[in-house]
């Protein structure tokens, strides 16, 4: 159905046609016509953020917790450039976003007009695709393409730059069904011969391991369901990247915990010693592999990924399967079952015996204290007091993020929002706002560090304005904890610029925003303080004063292999050689 309307009206109409309920944004000169249309309707809720970076992270939290695309509206120039960090974050973590930016009128483009920036040029490398729309008749179709590209294949952010005169002009609106992107047809079904080969490998493997990633989450809840069925039916151990937590439940009997630089001992050693590695929707990130030359040296490696460029990028695999994880798992289960559900049971029993030996090391043990709150203890208590709730966890980036991944358990997909690929400090608070917008009744907690929290703390204003009861749980060590840890291990304990000399009083800060502030520094009072936070119906900043120089272990130092982990009680002096210091 085609209708005549202004470009600004088309934007709102197109968003409605795509079922958009919430947009995150910030008005400005170049998007005033769109904001005028937003004002004159009630179906789409607009969440006014305090900084455009916050809008993008909020949309990421919304997208990650719902599986739907997040939508952002920003103005030209600084509005668009402020969105760049969020776009890059979403690109690296494959989060579907549709960002609409205003632009100076077409006749002013290239004149260095007020609030003009080359937005499509700046965002070209940090979006999956972007468009500058110069003709109102093309606008509706471009927005529909944007939604299609953002949400299909390997999801990612797209940006549509809309000059102000295009918003004012009248054109013809076309509906979403008429649009097709000919050059972009992602392949979702895996090659059945390759899938059959994988079934054969499963039948004979002695020491297999599933290594799963964010691709399982992105494939939808069905993929997580199929993964659980396959893991339980085969009895294979499973580990996951930071981005994939929750696809298989933490309480599941085959769960080894997260792998990688701060992953669990048993998970990393299983990866190192396996004879069959089945990578489902992960991408052999450098936080996972450690030293490439010694990465899982004796295994047959299988990689299922929807993005051909992820396959053989850093690790050469023996069996690549290009396709959507959910579709491949469905076919794999069918093939393996029809071949008689065979397994190498004696081999598996021996393998599990070995894994139990690694588990007995209890790599997450730490020395607790009765006088000071250990960050690990704080998260163990937070986990114990909230795990039965309808709960979503966001994080910032740093030590607290790794501790949250280690000490908290995720039972379902879409419950864990963290900045994995880009490692964006300041992600968690706005992300928690996006999650709470999507799940008003749920408990949404942002596990934060004092330094990360300050990077986007202005978004507390958004939380208060929209009555979003997000809980900001700050593990406050008055340090940039991860930077300090690396300086201790790699730079001779010269703590260059890694402590916070003039932190705000977080309780007063909360109160200044109109939220509640709680401080706790006594382990004995921690449970009661957390209970107080949970009982409060509104946003809370919880200032949890923790041990200042606690290190995050286990740790695979830079440039080391999976079987060269540092444990909590290990002597750390000289553990990382000069070669490792050049890595990040």
């Amino acid at each position: 159905m085609s209708q005549s309307m202004t470009g600004a009206a088309m934007v709102v109409k197109a968003l409605k046609d795509h079922g958009v309920e919430v947009v995150f944004g910030y008005p400005g000169g170049a998007v005033l016509p769109i904001y005028d249309e937003i004002f004159q309707q009630n179906e789409i809720i607009h969440v006014l953020v305090r900084h455009e970076q916050g809008a993008v992270h909020a949309a990421e939290g919304y997208a990650r917790s719902t599986g739907k695309p997040g939508v952002v509206i920003v103005t030209s120039g600084p509005g668009a450039t402020n969105a760049v960090t969020g776009l890059t974050d979403a690109l690296l973590d494959s989060i579907p976003l549709v960002v609409l930016s205003g632009q100076v009128p077409t006749f002013m483009i290239g004149t260095d007009g007020f609030q003009e920036a080359d937005t499509v040029g700046i965002t070209r490398p940090c979006t999956k695709h972007n468009w500058l729309v110069k003709d109102t008749d093309q606008l509706a179709e471009t927005i529909h393409r944007g939604f299609h590209v953002a949400t299909s294949g390997r999801p990612g952010p797209v940006l549509i730059d809309i000059p102000k005169d295009v918003q004012f002009a009248t054109g013809t609106y076309v509906g979403p069904k008429t649009v097709r992107v000919e050059s972009y047809q992602p392949k979702v079904k895996g090659d059945i011969a390759a899938i059959t080969r994988l079934a054969e490998l499963i039948e004979t493997a002695e020491r297999p391991v599933f290594y799963t990633g964010g691709g399982v989450i992105n494939s939808g809840p069905g993929a997580s369901q199929l993964l659980r069925e396959l893991v339980d039916a085969t009895g294979f151990p499973i580990t996951s990247t930071l981005m994939g937590l929750g696809a298989y439940p933490a309480s599941g009997k085959n769960w080894l915990g997260m792998l990688g630089m701060h992953g669990l001992y048993e998970a990393n050693l299983a990866m190192h010693g396996c004879d069959l590695m089945i990578n489902l929707g992960a991408r052999f990130d450098d936080r996972i592999t450690g030293r490439l030359a010694d990465f899982s040296p004796r295994s047959t490696k299988v990689h299922v990924d929807i993005d051909a460029s992820s396959i053989n990028k850093v690790i050469r695999v023996d069996l690549p399967i290009l396709g959507d994880v959910g579709h491949v798992l469905e076919d794999l289960l069918k093939v393996w079952k029809s071949r008689g559900r065979r397994l190498n049971k004696p081999g598996l029993a021996k393998w599990w015996g070995q894994i139990e030996g690694w588990k007995a090391k209890k790599c997450l043990d730490y020395k607790n204290s009765s006088s000071v709150i250990k960050p690990q203890y704080a998260l163990e208590r937070l986990e114990a007091l909230t795990k039965s709730r309808d709960r979503y966890i966001c994080t910032e980036v740093g030590q607290h993020q790794m501790w949250a991944a280690q000490y908290m358990g995720f039972e379902a997909p879409n419950r864990w929002m963290t900045s994995g690929g880009l490692g964006t400090m300041g992600y968690g608070l706005p992300a928690s706002i996006g999650v709470q917008m999507a799940h008003p009744e749920a408990l949404v907690i942002n596990v934060a560090g004092d330094a990360s929290f300050l990077m986007n703390m202005q978004e507390m204003g958004t939380a208060v304005q929209f009555r979003l009861p997000v809980k900001q749980f700050i593990l406050n060590n008055e340090r940039l904890g991860m930077v300090r840890q690396w300086q201790q291990l790699l730079h001779g304990e010269r703590y260059s610029q890694s402590w916070s000399e003039a932190l705000p009083d977080f309780v007063k800060l909360a109160e200044a925003f109109g939220a509640k502030g709680i401080r706790c520094s006594d382990p004995a009072k921690l449970d009661a303080a957390i209970a107080e936070m949970l009982a409060y119906d509104g946003p809370v900043i919880f200032d949890c004063m923790v041990e200042k120089h606690e290190n995050c272990f286990p740790m695979i130092p830079s440039g080391k292999a999976h079987n060269e982990m540092l444990m909590g009680d290990a002597a750390t002096e000289g553990a990382i050689q000069a070669g490792g210091a050049v890595l990040v």
């Binding site: 499509v120 070209r124 490398p125 590209v149 992107v181 050059s183 460029s309 053989n312």
Partner: protein
């Protein structure tokens, strides 16, 4: 006179299957990338190469289907087999890219480049440049009493060889188009 120093061309490789995927030896490959001729598409392709640290030895681009708004980008690049595979996969996921062909592994391709050479010389050198141009089937497209502009078409290696010969004879300026390539046969 310098011998014709024809380097190993990108079309003289063995079949794809025979290449060692783990080889650390850099190879030259000619890629044909068919794209929608939309705004910024060339920037996307070039940005991919610069952003990920790949090399571009030669690049040509023009619209080849005016009705369908399709352009053909021919890139000559260099890398180990793993890097070449990665380049092709990365190109393939750019949204307006329709097809990526590795002409170097898809069978021998015809590769041609056009170049213009300005040679400033008098006397014996001038005569010699004209004689060599004839051997290379280069055409004179501009002439003064002190200079010629030669137009030459051929493989990049032939053009390199012609440049080597013209240099001592008074080569003043060169313009090259970069490689255009098509696969042979059907």
């Amino acid at each position: 006179m310098a011998a014709l120093n024809i380097k190993k061309g990108s079309t003289s490789h063995s079949a794809y299957e025979l290449r060692d995927p783990n080889s650390q030896v850099a190879e030259s490959h000619t890629l044909a990338v068919l794209v929608d001729n939309e705004a910024g598409v060339l920037a996307r392709v070039i940005g991919l190469f610069s952003g990920r640290g790949y090399n571009i030895d030669s690049l040509t681009v023009a619209e080849v289907d005016h009705l369908g708004h399709r352009s053909r980008i021919t890139v000559v690049t260099r890398g180990t087999p793993a890097v070449i595979e990665q380049i092709k996969a990365q190109l393939g996921r750019i949204v307006p890219v329709h097809e990526v062909h590795d002409l170097t592994v898809e069978g021998r391709a015809v590769e041609r480049e056009l170049a213009l050479f300005k040679v400033v010389a008098t006397g014996e050198k001038r005569i010699e440049s004209l004689r060599l141009a004839e051997i290379f089937r280069a055409n004179v497209v501009d002439s003064t009493l002190e200079s010629f502009v030669f137009e030459i078409t051929g493989t990049p290696e032939k053009i390199d060889a012609f440049a080597d010969l013209m240099r001592p004879l008074g080569l003043a300026d060169v313009a090259r188009t970069g490689v255009a390539a098509l696969s042979r046969g059907v």
